[in-house]
Amino acid sequence: MAIVVNLDVMLARRKMSLSELAEKVGLTLSNLSILKTGKAKAIRFSTLESICEALDCQPGDILEYQPN
């Protein structure tokens, strides 16, 4: 897919673990893992908003477009 999820990069920058983020955002660890590994088909605006709030970043920091 041309959309790349850079959640692991942001987590490393913020020195935060995935389980910590899952707790803050209110998502299950498995769902966040799906998102991190790029297996997710779509992301809700509400989820994106919560992640951005928890990581103090912009949607563009998490999602990136890479042409195939």
Binding site: N31, I34, K41, A42, R44
Partner: protein, 196 residues
Amino acid sequence: MERIKLLTIALTVSNIFRILLIAFITLLTFVFIHWHINPEAYSTVKLSGFEHSNTTSLYTTSFTITSTTATNVGNAEDKVMFLQDISQLSLYLFYLQSVAILIIWIFILQQISKLIRSVRELQTFRNSNSTTLRRIGRYCFLIFILTAFRWAETETGSFIGIYINYLPVLFMLGAFILAEIFEEGNKLYEAEQLTI
């Protein structure tokens, strides 16, 4: 609640029909075995479905050929076939054909039960259900094939019937279309599951 009640009724009805079909197969087999022991007991039993008719109706188109070598039977089209008249080979074929159709019906009902159970458990749009519907479609096609011909031979003549039954074909098409719809539903379900 109403929906679950309806599905439970449908499931019960399908199970009852399945039991009835098994009982009918057992009875048919018993009669078939008994016929070998005492064929005189069935001397007056008339065989249905071996009547001469070239007709087209809403459900079936049939072509039959009846030939006779006897001189005293008159019109071959009026001849009624008795169980004792037909050859052993044609009776075996008739029995196997009937049992095969009944067994396929049992399989269809089994698949329908599986489908109803999954809908009741709110697991409607799953890949297994589209596979089930495709299987039902294939069973309908087998019924179409098995009901497409009938053959019987007597000492004085023979009967060949070719029947084109539209209902199994229509059910087959319906099942395949539903299988495609269920597959689309499954894709949507999977996409929904992968939406975070």
